[in-house]
């Protein structure tokens, strides 16, 4: 019996259309739009001016605080302006617009980094490097990685869990990365283990990616501290709390962090970025993005420079097919529809999903029939129907006491609801109000 988390979960259609497509390299875009708020926390501070020449990998916006991250230029070129551009949030945000210098050779070279197994860097330098390289959680939450690695408060961490679950339907970015960069990922894990003095690491992978499990098992054969755990296919297993519960059976307390139960979780993409930062001093300026959709002919996985407009990606796969209704940044379960195709790829963009009319439309909500399906599938053990009603009626304090804040917004409840009720829409709204009330109280 394969491991999984005990409570709730759903099985959406997998639709991993691109799992056999090797990661291609996107051509360098002519113009990149680099938002300064690509991570959770304080936006970075711009340190370049209009008309400045920037080198590839140069810091263009500096970390604005502890929970923040540096942002580097993905190309060599000129800063044409500092503008407001609609980003994935749907609002206009501050952006650095850089025009690529086509003559500059560094833009055209394809980075070749042979495997480098030996870790020569000291522990302190490793952490500093990760912080300087602007690495954030590439699974989608974009939490600055150095914050997770900062173990000041005497938390005893004994487990490092690597998240290779990729439970979102359609997305295959992590899957391909694990297949193609398995050795590097293992070295990345060893770097983190050295930096944090951890002796146990587990890579969690869902069983629909058997090839990745095999490849990583083989790569990790020399190091008996690293194990690969095959997990049952179930959404939302890629959520930190569910993954910890599935692999080592520990439960993160309400409102707590994985650190509280002695675990640190990192995504495989983040691990690869850490490997590049520590072994080759490469800042985080590109990531793997799955561009997919049932009607796309050339759906595939790409290495994409941060700041590439999504329209470039869409063009690369053959343009928008007829009848396209929605373009989603991320997967179909947790992703967010974008307003237009000028929105740039950011550090948190794991996939671009093009959905047609009949797949995208939401049905008219009807009355709750008290079937309890939402309660059954909630991985956090909440009662979504109740939370929605409380929010709708403005009973926010009651919603807070029903633990609305522990909701991980996985959307399983909305997915199964036979009455098509907009459960998550309301719960998310309730969370925002409760958050405001809590800050007002303190």
């Amino acid at each position: 019996m394969l491991k999984t988390f005990p409570k709730g979960g759903v099985h959406p259609e997998e639709n991993k259309l691109t799992s056999s497509k090797a990661i291609k390299r996107m051509p360098v875009p002519k113009v990149v739009y680099v938002p300064i708020a690509q991570h959770i926390g304080i936006p970075a501070e711009i340190i370049v001016n209009q008309k400045d020449k920037v080198q590839k990998g140069q810091v263009v916006a500096k970390s604005g605080g502890f929970v923040s991250s540096n942002i580097h230029s993905p190309v060599a070129g000129t800063v044409t302006k500092l503008d407001m551009i609609v980003d994935t949030s749907g609002y206009k945000k501050q952006c650095i617009v850089i025009r690529t210098d086509e003559k500059d050779e560094s833009n055209q070279e394809i980075p070749e980094f042979p495997l480098k197994k030996e870790i020569t860097m000291e522990q302190k330098d490793i952490l500093q490097h990760i912080s300087d390289s602007g690495i954030v959680g590439l699974g989608g939450a974009t939490f600055p990685s150095h914050v997770k690695l900062d173990l000041k408060n005497d938390n005893k961490v004994d487990y490092l869990i690597i998240n290779g679950v990729e439970c979102e339907p359609y997305l295959t970015a992590d899957h391909r990365l694990m297949l193609e960069k398995a050795e590097e990922i293992i070295v990345g894990i060893q770097i983190l283990m050295k930096a944090l003095h951890i002796n146990k690491a587990v890579i969690g992978i869902e069983n629909n990616k058997r090839d990745a499990i095999e490849v990583l098992k083989k790569a990790a054969a020399d190091d008996d501290r690293i194990q690969v755990a095959a997990l049952q296919v179930k959404y939302p297993q890629g959520s930190e709390k569910q993954l910890i519960k599935a692999i080592i059976g520990r439960e993160v307390p309400k409102g707590g962090l994985p650190m509280d139960v002695g675990v640190i979780v990192h995504n495989v993409g983040t691990i690869f970025a850490i490997y590049q930062a520590v072994q080759y001093d490469q800042p985080l300026t590109e990531r793997v993005v799955t561009v997919t959709g049932k009607n796309l002919e050339k759906a595939s996985n790409f290495w994409v420079k941060i700041g590439t407009p999504i329209k470039d990606l869409v063009e690369e796969v053959g343009g928008l097919p007829e009848g396209t209704r929605k373009i989603v940044n991320g997967g179909p379960m947790m992703g967010k529809a974008i307003k237009n195709t000028d929105v740039p790829v950011t550090k948190g963009t794991s996939g671009i999903l093009v959905i047609s009319e009949d797949e995208a439309s939401r049905q008219e909500p009807e009355n709750c029939i008290r079937c309890g399906k939402c309660v059954f599938v909630c991985p956090m053990g909440l009662e979504p129907h109740l939370l929605m009603n409380l929010t709708e009626k403005g009973m926010y304090e009651r919603a807070a006491s029903e633990d609305v804040m522990t909701c991980i917004e996985c959307g399983s409840c909305s997915y199964v609801c036979p009455s098509h009720r907009p459960l998550l829409d309301y719960i998310r709204f309730g969370k925002s109000i409760v958050k405001k009330l809590n800050t007002a109280k303190n």
């Binding site: 749907g90 609002y91 967010k336 307003k339 939401r362 709204f429």
Partner: protein, 303 residues
């Protein structure tokens, strides 16, 4: 037979006597003094229980009025100066006199002038739309059109028109401020009613640069500063590509309305302007437009 009647009568009356004694003692022992003025003041207040004064209901406001030394900061927007004067007479305290205000909607981005570029199929609520993204149009400052303000209005003073924008029925508006709090975009503002409800204000909140704002909405303020230049009283200030008319300084001369190239300055309840000699074509159109607007607002007020 007679005895059972007698027994029950005696038993019941003795229970009654005991209960009366207990109630009497308790009422004396736990007597809470309440200022009779609270009820008096409450009777004067409009009993709308709207919360516009900042207290949860009229009774709570009456308690605050009676309990506070200085009540010049407290004001019942629904009752207005008349009610506050009566309160002052009862309590013998000084009250502030405030100009009556009315809610105005500072957005003209209806369906015709502000094209929809996206569609949101979730719950119809401005608060939820605002949380998720910037709305169905390209203007991220304007009205979301889901009517949260209309839903919170307890006085039936607002409705959504065919154009997808909220309309304030000025006669019914009590300026309780519920709509101002409900709007996630801060579009609704309380402005002085003035005489005959004459108002001039900028009907736009778009802080984008002119071109971008105009692309998103035909009647957006493009930040050209023409109104600022023409204003004889310096009542108009420009901030972030957006004009704002200070109601205290404005003398309602309406010079700004005429110069605004995008007609984003709204005037209400003014009598129609006399069209003098023939003007350039575009400007005549502008006058006709404003007239139509005035008429519709007037109808509203009379309704």
């Amino acid at each position: 037979m007679i005895y059972s009647v007698l027994y029950s009568a005696i038993l019941l009356s003795s229970i009654g006597v005991v209960a009366a004694v207990v109630l009497f003692i308790v009422s004396k022992k736990f007597y809470v003094y309440e200022n009779p003025k609270i009820s008096e003041v409450e009777d004067v207040l409009p009993s709308a229980n709207c919360g516009g004064c900042g207290s949860p209901g009229c009774r709570a406001f009456a308690e605050r009025l009676v309990g506070s030394e200085d009540i010049s900061e407290l004001f019942c927007p629904v009752g207005g100066n008349d009610v506050m004067k009566q309160v002052a007479d009862i309590l013998g305290k000084e009250v502030a006199e405030k100009d009556p205000t009315v809610a105005v909607v500072r957005c003209q981005g209806g369906c015709e002038v502000r094209p929809k570029t996206t569609e949101y199929q979730g719950p119809k609520s401005c608060a939820i739309s605002a949380l998720i993204y910037s709305g169905e149009t390209d203007c991220q400052f304007g009205c979301l059109g889901d009517g949260d303000c209309v839903n919170v209005c307890q006085f039936d003073a607002m409705y959504m028109d065919d154009n997808g924008l909220p309309v304030v029925i000025t006669d019914k508006c009590t300026s309780c401020g519920a709509c101002v709090d409900a709007c996630p975009r801060n579009i609704i503002e309380m402005r002085p009613r003035n005489k005959r409800d004459l108002k001039v204000f900028v009907g736009c909140l778009n802080e984008d640069k002119g071109g971008i704002a105009r692309k998103a909405c035909n009647v957006a303020c493009i930040g050209c500063s023409k109104c600022e230049d023409v204003c004889p009283k310096d009542a108009i200030s420009m901030n972030n590509n957006l004009a704002y008319i200070d109601a205290e300084l404005c003398t309602l001369c309406r010079k700004c309305v005429d110069v605004c190239p995008t007609h984003s300055i709204i005037e209400t309840n003014f009598p129609p302007k006399k069209v003098k000699t023939p003007k350039p074509e575009e400007e005549t159109v502008a006058v006709v437009k404003t007239e139509a607007k005035v008429e519709s607002v007037n109808n509203e007020t009379n309704a």
